[in-house]
């Protein structure tokens, strides 16, 4: 009761269906090319238009190649899906940022950076990592394609109200410990189903001290604990980030908006269905060893005795094994989890003055064209190039390998993405999730390395 989640949710209720779900109004629908074509088909079959086309933003990201985007996509099936989104957006009168458009990028990177995702909003997309936008102080969650069609048709969705959970993290993070490590630590503690049925509010001094990039990383990974979403009450850090962005309110509207946003916090008397508290001092750089994101450990630890055998067989690991010094074949920096400017700064801070290890293939993929611009403006591209790293063009890339960026079967990939499921980065690929610092440490040494040794 009286949680921020209640406030935002309740202010978007259009109606309550007796013995059923809530009819919830949606402020923003994002569409990418993979989960939208069948929804547009559904509208055509019913002979209807989008109810509020001005609230819908479309962009391809999953299939986009990370090189030569000015040329046609080679894979005809990927090309057709990307072209279909453009055609559907035109037919239904929706804003569309196509490939090579400077506003294009991963939808969960672009939304916040354009000021399209704002505090107090309800935001959905046919993508589980929509929880990312919760960092702006919004209620944001992933939905299926039938639900995308619902929102297109009515700007509403039928949903059961989730329960509320507050996760507080208190204290200062140690050197070399990032928002990604906090998230991997929470997943280890909660498992991949520990927050199922809940919406998480992240709170506490550790969370408050995170930058917007760090908050976006943490909220992004809420779904990997099973939660519908996760968010952080907006504060000065949030307002500072939003101010001046393309779709942010301007002038008097800005002042009014900030005044309202400042009211967006849980009451002192707020009651959550579940409360968990963690100590930042317990969190170290993390790495995963298994085939779900909850199968993680501190990078210096050994694989626990109760780890699922099927997962370890797939990964080629054994119980009790310590992974430090284990050979790495690929390193992936990017995704909606860690494809922002701060992630590139972190990676470059370790790579600077060193050389990429022989035998490591590294893919550095910015989350958007804007991130790529920032990388260049700060000269990080030069630092990384001198260390033997090339920067690619933006997109989801090797996070789920729908384009050509696939990790070959049996190869080990230290990845800043969000999922280490079997085959996630390509059939037979073996993924170890970690922070940009840990990814960089692996990239310059060729083996799994504690990043604190290189800072």
């Amino acid at each position: 009761m009286n949680t921020l989640f209640d406030k935002i949710w309740d202010s978007h209720v259009v109606s309550l269906i007796e013995d059923g779900p809530t009819q919830l109004y949606i402020d923003r629908l994002y569409c990418h090319e993979v989960t939208s074509p069948q929804a547009f088909d559904g509208l055509r079959a019913r002979g209807i238009k989008c109810f509020r086309p001005e609230k819908i933003y479309c962009m391809p990201d999953h299939n986009t190649p990370t090189h030569d985007q000015d040329k046609t996509i080679e894979d005809p099936v990927s090309r057709k899906q990307v072209d279909t989104l453009a055609a559907n957006a035109a037919e239904f009168g929706l804003t569309h940022y196509g490939m090579m458009n400077h506003s294009n990028g991963i939808i969960h990177v672009v939304g916040p950076e354009k000021g399209l995702s704002l505090p107090g909003m309800t935001i959905v997309c046919g993508d589980s990592h929509t929880s990312t936008h919760g960092a702006m102080g919004a209620v944001a969650f992933g939905i299926g394609t039938s639900e995308v069609e619902m929102v297109m048709a009515s700007q509403c969705i039928l949903q059961q109200k989730p329960k509320s959970m507050r996760i507080s993290v208190e204290g200062e993070l140690a050197k070399g410990v990032t928002a990604k490590d906090v998230a991997l630590y929470l997943m280890m503690k909660l498992t991949t189903s520990g927050a199922t049925g809940y919406f998480i509010e992240y709170a506490g001094s550790t969370i408050r001290s995170l930058s917007m990039e760090g908050r976006l990383t943490l909220c992004n990974l809420s779904i990997e604990m099973g939660a519908r979403g996760g968010f952080i009450a907006p504060d000065e850090t949030t307002f500072e980030y939003i101010k001046g962005r393309e779709y942010a309110p301007k002038g008097e509207e800005w002042d009014k908006a900030v005044e309202y946003w400042k009211t967006l916090k849980s009451g002192d008397d707020a009651v959550f269905d579940k409360e968990l508290t963690f100590d930042a001092a317990d969190i170290q750089p993390m790495i995963t060893y298994g085939t779900n994101p909850g199968m993680g450990m501190a990078i210096t630890d050994s694989i626990p005795a109760d780890a699922a055998q099927k997962s370890l067989d797939y990964m080629g690991f054994t119980h009790g094994q310590n992974l430090l010094g284990h050979k790495v074949d690929y390193v992936f920096l990017g995704a909606c989890t860690n494809g922002r400017i701060e992630d590139f700064r972190a990676f470059a801070s370790i790579a600077a003055g060193k050389k990429k290890a022989e035998g490591v293939t590294a893919w550095l993929v910015p989350g958007s064209w804007k991130v790529l611009d920032e990388i260049k403006a700060e000269g990080l591209d030069k630092v990384l190039e001198a260390a033997g790293f090339a920067i690619r063009q933006p997109g989801c890339s090797a996070c789920l390998a729908m384009n050509d960026d696939k990790i070959p079967a049996g190869k080990y990939s230290v990845s800043t993405s969000n999922r280490n499921f079997e085959g996630r980065q390509g059939p037979g690929s073996r993924t170890l999730l970690a922070s940009p610092l840990t990814a960089a440490a692996a990239a310059v040494t060729g083996v799994i390395t504690d990043p604190r040794e290189l800072i």
Binding site: E18, P37, S146, E147, M150, S154, T192, G226, R424
Partner: protein, 203 residues
């Protein structure tokens, strides 16, 4: 697609694994389709567990074992029984299309991931959440007799293991139950709510 639900009595296909994620149910490379072709998705259900790199069936995967290889039909293999936390990970509705396309009408597990559960319901596949004890007993019953049947009674919200007689109540809200029993979807409902939506917008 839209099929009316009443009572389903069928043999089952067991998948006694926990945390089955939607990347396993349908791998990402099959998400490039631009149509909702259920046969295509059904043919690729659990693709990388079901087939090797050369597209030969993997003998040890349950769909390829003699007792469970028959495609679902009335009363046969219409129920998938899976370990806890079924459908975690990606929101891809293609996973639900694949399950429906293969011919399953019910999935029984002790715990479902939220988004996938909604996706199943929106595709007229019924997720039935049972207790750990019921699930364990059901896996044992199927192991003892692959022809063991389960009865899912939607009007009365009960699920019964006919081999042992064990029965449990399962949760489904009244609205969704009405939709399933009458083959109505949420969009049919929402399209009738335009005036309420406009009133909300003008508040």
């Amino acid at each position: 697609m839209k099929q009316k639900f009443d009572i389903i009595q069928s043999t089952c296909v067991p998948l006694p694994l926990e945390n089955v994620d939607t990347d396993q149910i349908i791998p990402a490379r099959f998400l490039k389709a631009t149509t909702r072709d259920e046969k295509f998705f059904g043919d690729n259900l659990f693709r990388d567990w079901r087939y090797d790199k050369e597209d030969n069936p993997k003998k040890d995967f349950v769909f390829n074992t003699p007792a469970f290889s028959a495609a679902p039909s009335e009363g046969v293999h219409q129920i998938l029984v899976a370990g806890k936390n079924f459908g975690s990970g990606s929101s891809r509705e293609h996973a639900a299309w694949a399950i429906a396309g293969y011919g399953f009408r019910v999935v029984i597990s002790s715990f479902f991931a939220d988004i996938h559960k909604n996706n199943e319901l929106n595709n007229f596949v019924l997720p039935v959440a049972v207790s750990e004890a019921f699930l364990a007993e059901l896996f044992a019953s199927i192991a003892a007799d692959s022809d063991c049947q389960v009865k899912v009674d939607v009007p009365n919200q009960t699920v019964t293991n006919l081999a042992t007689g064990s029965s449990e109540h399962f949760e489904i809200n009244g609205y969704k139950k009405y939709c399933l029993m009458n083959a109505l979807d949420d969009i049919d409902y929402l399209l009738e709510q335009k005036s309420k939506i406009e009133a909300y917008e003008n508040k």
